[in-house]
């Protein structure tokens, strides 16, 4: 593994810069934060945020174009040399993946069912959508599986994706839902976005929402993207990142 140092005004900017420089999506970067950076006082003592990104040798900047980097970034986790070599030759599909990708929704559903069984949860899994693959868990009393603000559901989704990625060598991006929680949450967030946009416009003041995970912030941004009288952006870092709705 090689490492590359990238700086920016904030950690987010450094990540964005690293992502475009290396052609690897920001959510797939393997990075470590060296310095969070600080604004200083009146610009005095300001320090740039610095991150160190780990890159596969084949992906070092200048040696690869964005597109192949994206493909090659996947087998980086599997550590199956022959497979990684095949994928890096630039032909996903010709690298003899262990499963047919058409089976992916069923494969994902089977994995989730087995996982729920091992967790002692009595529930059924339905494939709600094939693209993107969306699984919905149906059963009684699934609050425990959803957790506060959907945190347990997110953990479940994360693990399902890690396992599928490891076993198939493909990044499938499976969405895991339970009792339609994510659907309901999306409607709720859209409603919230509209109400808070009205408030921002009425009081002519920015409205700051509660901290939310990335996909929830995206729903807010999308809901108000076409809105005539407000604009949105996000502030804060990590778990504290929140959307601000500002009247135009």
């Amino acid at each position: 593994m090689e490492t590359v140092e990238v700086t920016g005004k904030t950690v987010d900017e450094a990540i964005a810069a690293a992502s475009s420089k290396l052609g690897i999506p920001a959510d797939r970067l393997d990075y470590r934060i060296v310095s969070e950076g600080s604004k200083g006082i009146l610009g005095i003592g300001a320090e740039e945020a610095k991150i160190i990104v780990s890159v596969e040798p084949a992906l070092a900047p200048g040696e690869s174009k964005p597109a192949p980097a994206r493909v090659a970034a996947v087998p980086a986790r599997t550590e199956a040399p022959e497979e990684a070599a095949a994928e890096q030759a630039g032909a996903p599909g010709e690298g003899a993946p262990r499963v047919q990708i058409e089976d992916a929704p069923d494969l994902a559903a089977d994995l989730l069912e087995e996982l729920l069984d091992k967790m002692g949860i009595d529930a059924e899994v339905e494939v709600r959508e094939e693209d993107p693959i969306t699984l919905n868990v149906i059963g009684d009393d699934l609050g425990i599986l959803i957790g506060r603000r959907g945190e347990t559901l997110s953990a479940l989704q994360f693990i399902v994706n890690q396992i599928l990625n490891h076993q198939t060598g493909h990044w499938l991006s499976v969405i895991v839902d339970a009792e339609d929680y994510r659907l309901r949450r999306e409607e709720q967030l859209k409603g919230l976005a509209r109400r808070m946009a009205d408030r921002a416009r009425y009081y002519r003041q920015p409205v700051t929402l509660e901290p939310m995970p990335p996909h929830e912030r995206r729903i807010i941004h999308m809901a108000l993207a076409e809105h005539g009288s407000v604009v949105t952006h996000s502030i804060g870092e990590g778990d504290e990142r929140r959307v601000v709705i500002t009247p135009k």
Partner: protein, 75 residues
């Protein structure tokens, strides 16, 4: 709980045969001790501990279902 962590760890690592899980009761709490091959430690911990955090979160569901408390230790 042990089966859950065993299943998850085996599904995540390159050397599933080297996954070992011990269930150690200590009072009202159970310690689940996970051992994997050296090169696989990163796979069960993940970037900034994300995988480990997710494993703990799923273990908690499983433990709560049985009315128990459990902690995961990766050694």
């Amino acid at each position: 709980m042990k089966e859950l962590i065993e299943f998850l760890a085996r599904s995540l690592v390159s050397k599933p045969d080297e996954v070992k899980v011990e269930e150690i009761p200590s009072g009202r709490q159970t310690v689940i001790e996970l051992t994997v091959a050296r090169g696989d430690i990163g796979k069960v911990i993940g970037k900034q501990g994300r995988t480990a955090r997710a494993l703990r979160s799923l273990l908690k569901v499983s433990a709560t279902k049985q009315g128990k408390r459990a902690v995961l230790e990766i050694v």
